[in-house]
């Protein structure tokens, strides 16, 4: 069904957020710095532990020297003073609710170390929680892939492999004269069982190439890279920081390997099908 502009924007936003979550942000920076052989920091603010941003205020005693030394506090203090000045500079009517001494030093310390947000709500400037994976988009992508695979297998098995196997095992069947083209001279090599390996290999090569192209089209359309975005092994490897394992671009190599495996598995499935059909035909 057609998406509205708002839905499209939301889906795209979720997809963007997904790419930056689960270590993806640092991996992107690593990629940028890696390709330019740069030594710039590749640690992402999104992957920094959130605890650092919500450190509880330090004790009064330990905080005091920090306040004097840390120049970061000064602008905030001045801003506080300025705010007070901007707010009318007059007396308020409010009365104190209690007479205890305000914990000014811990306030300053809090400013220095960062304060937890009020009422426990995630605050602006605080690391956003990891974006939920856009399950709808992933499910739809899976559906497209499964449909492609099913159609590919159906077409291959029903329209080529099955008739072909029947042809080479039952060349004199009464079925064939009904199809005039099977009796022609150019069809003769197909009827010859000794050509089986060559014909099967050519067919597999062509069908797997076409399948791979269609797979890439699906990925391009849905903007989800099947292996990169959904494979658990790839996700695990992407969490390993660059340099820990002495293999350059480990993730890329793994993705290439998995792609080959995906295509190889198609070939193995077809070989299994051929063996089963040949086995069945010997009994029929």
């Amino acid at each position: 069904s057609e998406l509205t502009e708002a839905e499209k924007r939301r889906l795209l936003r979720e997809r963007r957020q997904k790419k930056f979550s689960n270590g993806g942000a640092s991996s992107r920076l690593n990629k940028i710095t890696g390709q330019a052989s740069s030594h710039l920091n590749a640690e992402s603010p999104l992957d920094a532990p959130s605890a650092a941003k919500t450190t509880p205020p330090a004790s009064v005693h330990s905080a005091t020297p920090d306040i004097k030394e840390d120049s970061n506090v000064a602008p905030q203090l001045d801003l506080l003073k300025q705010l007070a000045a901007m707010q009318g500079q007059g007396t308020g009517k409010s009365t104190p609710q209690d007479s205890s001494t305000p914990d000014l030093l811990s306030l300053l310390s809090s400013m220095n170390t960062g304060m937890p947000s009020a009422e426990g709500t995630p605050s602006f400037g605080q690391a956003a929680p990891a974006a939920p994976i856009n399950q709808a988009a992933l499910d739809y992508h899976d559906y497209l892939l499964n449909r492609l695979k099913a159609w590919t297998i159906l077409v291959k098995w029903v329209f080529f492999l099955l008739p072909y196997l029947y042809l080479i095992t039952r060349p004199n069947s009464s079925v064939w004269p009904a199809y005039a083209f099977t009796q022609s001279a150019w069809f003769a090599p197909l009827r010859n069982p000794s050509n089986f390996t060559r014909i099967f290999a050519t067919f597999e090569f062509l069908s797997i190439s076409i399948y791979y192209q269609l797979l890439k089209n699906v990925e391009h359309k849905s903007k989800i890279k099947n292996l990169q975005d959904t494979n658990k092994l790839v996700k695990l490897v992407s969490l390993v920081p660059e340099g820990v394992i002495p293999v350059a671009n480990l993730k890329g190599k793994l993705i290439t390997l998995l792609q080959y495996w995906d295509l190889l598995s198609m070939l193995i499935t077809d070989i299994s099908f051929v063996l089963i059909v040949l086995g069945l035909l010997t009994y029929l």
């Binding site: 390709q35 007396t91 209690d98 809090s110």
Partner: protein, 354 residues
Amino acid sequence: MDLTVEPNLHSLITSTTHKWIFVGGKGGVGKTTSSCSIAIQMALSQPNKQFLLISTDPAHNLSDAFGEKFGKDARKVTGMNNLSCMEIDPSAALKDMNDMAVSRANNNGSDGQGDDLGSLLQGGALADLTGSIPGIDEALSFMEVMKHIKRQEQGEGETFDTVIFDTAPTGHTLRFLQLPNTLSKLLEKFGEITNKLGPMLNSFMGAGNVDISGKLNELKANVETIRQQFTDPDLTTFVCVCISEFLSLYETERLIQELISYDMDVNSIIVNQLLFAENDQEHNCKRCQARWKMQKKYLDQIDELYEDFHVVKMPLCAGEIRGLNNLTKFSQFLNKEYNPITDGKVIYELEDKE
């Protein structure tokens, strides 16, 4: 399910929901040209709406970009009746505040203390003091945002449907965007202090009839409104501007990640100063070719990294993009992407700005 992303800003330019549009990036990548271009295109495509372009960069460029002087108050761009510009001037704003403080001190000077304070402030002490605070430009820009919201709520003065920010280089901008959060925290703590210290604080701030708690709550509510609006993707978005070079790409990526950590929407990237050398029949020198080759390398990376973003590729023009006419010509490629084959002649058509 068609999730293709157009390589232009058409959806933003025609958007009727966005109230705040930030344009930012590394220094020297064309932020001002890009923000002016976005503002012009929005104003042209939505003639019934009012747009305001604010420069929050301490080194203002808007006046130079349009070739006319803008100040701290919004003023319409000559030739456009629905686009205004303003340059927030920290020193002028601080001088106003200083003058206010002086007059207040003098008015309260009957007990003798006011004279001392007044004479202390006469030399612009407050302006000198606060002017040196890092981040004061951002704070003042933020005050403008608050004033704008208040005016809209109260229906006072000139109101604008969309405000476009021509921001300072990345560091300043991030500080500006952090302000709602910082202010929320400060006001929270400040509220606690006023509750505890009440009368003492009031006498500290002078005798008047101002309800500090009320004012603080009002300010807090305003800050919260801004915080909510800034994190609402239908109301606020950030347009990153970069050039096709390593440092710019790196800083853009970091900026995007920071913005995402602030929960802000960012979905557009303008890549400026592209040579498109192979399509340039007239000036296809060896240096241009080499540089275009380098740009293409980073463009490929940008295409791969930002496939879900509106990546707008803008050409490097032969002349300076200054003045409303030149900006309008250039800005059309934000609405409909630049085609080096059919649009190539435009880059030589910019008028000389005397």
